[in-house]
């Protein structure tokens, strides 16, 4: 009855023109949603507490025992393995020998690891870039703003946070970011370009550049990064680089598989322009990784690039 009376009151109000229908319905649904969420939260709390006490303990003990046995078996297995650090181990066989002794000559890269992952076993590395690409697409599916993924409270929170960080100026952060970011980016570029000559390469360099971009964004806000890096550029750059990667690797697999001579000169080992396809591939991977890392970060924080 009480409820009905409420409804009638609202109805009269509406007839009298005091409220509009939309606002009534909206307020109602919003309150309902809010209540439901709160209820869920409480339920989750109670459940968590209840479960922790009873069932969990027994399961844990059983799992612990099983895992202990498992670790024991693995340790026993490993105890029969060849001793670490010896030259005669089976892992150091003719494959290793060729990679080391002929690596420089065949791939043109002085850094043998780089030569190995981008030339001898390039298919793995192609798969690896695809994993990264897939991951960023998945993060975009999950976190890019859409109608399933909007939360008013969260939006207000981020807006407030932005306001706070803009208000107090964040002087220390901004100043240090201004000084440090160029050096981070420079270092990242150095690591990428010297991937075939010294430790590092596309992936680590790209991660460093990505970290630099993230630092810049945290200091100056996303708006400042958006001036030169939007979602559209992100899409174009990363897919463009992956396509270049795909085609150049496709070319070398095609020529290799059909026993054709590759037309790409290897250059003089030790020079910056050497190593055949390794340098361009490293640059592509670096750009992809930098875009990906920055992209994932901005999807996490703002839900958009």
């Amino acid at each position: 009855m009480k409820n009905d009376a409420g409804k009638w009151e609202k109805f009269f109000k509406w007839i009298n023109g005091e409220t509009t229908l939309d606002s009534v319905i909206l307020a109602k649904s919003r309150r309902k949603r809010f209540l439901k969420r709160k209820l869920r939260q409480q339920k989750a709390q109670i459940m968590a507490n209840k479960l922790k006490r009873s069932k969990r303990k027994i399961e844990n003990v059983i799992c612990l025992i099983v895992a202990a046995i498992f670790i024991g078996i693995l340790l026993y297995t490993a105890s029969g393995l060849p001793i670490c650090g010896r030259w005669e181990n089976p892992a150091n066989n003719e494959v290793t020998k060729r990679y080391i002794e002929k690596g420089v000559e065949e791939t043109g890269a002085v850094n043998l690891v780089s030569g190995m992952i981008l030339d001898y076993r390039a298919f793995d590395t192609f798969g690896e870039s695809c994993v990264l690409f897939t991951a960023v697409i998945c993060v975009a599916i999950l976190l890019k703003r859409d109608k399933n993924n909007t939360d008013i409270t969260e939006d207000t929170e981020t807006a407030e946070d932005d306001a706070i960080s803009n208000a107090d100026g964040n002087l220390i952060l901004k100043l240090s970011a201004k000084i440090v970011t160029p050096f981070i980016l420079l270092y990242g570029i150095y690591v990428i370009l010297n991937g075939h000559l010294s430790p590092g390469g596309g992936f680590s360099g790209g991660a460093i550049i990505g970290a630099g971009l993230i630092l810049y964004t945290t200091a100056f806000g996303q708006e400042s990064t958006r001036r030169f890096f939007t979602y559209e550029t992100f899409k174009k750059i990363s897919s463009g680089c992956l396509l270049v990667y795909c085609f150049s690797k496709g070319y070398s697999f095609f020529t290799g598989g059909n026993h054709l001579e590759s037309m790409i000169p290897l250059g003089k080992p030790g020079n910056i322009l050497s190593g055949g396809l390794i340098l361009p591939l490293n640059i592509c991977v670096g750009i992809i990784v930098a875009c990906t890392m920055y992209g994932i970060y901005s999807f996490f924080t703002k839900g958009d690039i």
Partner: protein
């Protein structure tokens, strides 16, 4: 066993770490800790692999231009390459799983897997007898 611990200490450490990570992934209720456990498990396997490629007294596989590279001078480059690939894979997986955790939190406001599963069961019961 003790001899093994002194000779193959990297392998032993890697396996213990693998076990800890495995247990965390399996038993932790909190999702963030679970995924940290996953990361520990992955790095443990990578440690195991790299230890296989290490050779005492040899240096990192970066040749000097113009010098002949000798297999008796450098450590095995294969495990490093494999692990490099592996690290990328585990970063991708971590990013993906954290994104999932964020969405889950937005929806259910909890990080506890058990609580969420329990809620799911209740939802189903509600649906089946309306």
């Amino acid at each position: 066993m003790l001899k093994f611990l002194t000779e193959n200490h990297y392998e032993a450490g890697a396996i213990i770490l693998f076990g800890i990570g495995f247990l965390n992934l399996l038993l932790q209720d909190n999702l963030i800790k679970k995924f940290i456990g996953l990361n520990i498990m992955d790095t443990a396997v990578y440690l195991f692999l790299v230890a296989q490629g290490y050779i005492v007294g040899h240096t990192a596989p970066i040749a000097q231009a113009g010098e002949a590279a000798l297999a008796t001078k450098f450590v095995n480059p294969i495990p490093s390459g494999l692990v490099l690939t592996g690290i990328v894979v585990s970063v991708s997986v971590t990013a993906f799983s954290l994104a999932l955790v964020l969405r889950l939190y937005k929806k259910y406001k909890t990080l506890s897997l058990d609580a969420v599963l329990e809620l799911l069961k209740e939802d189903k019961e509600d649906e089946s007898n309306p």
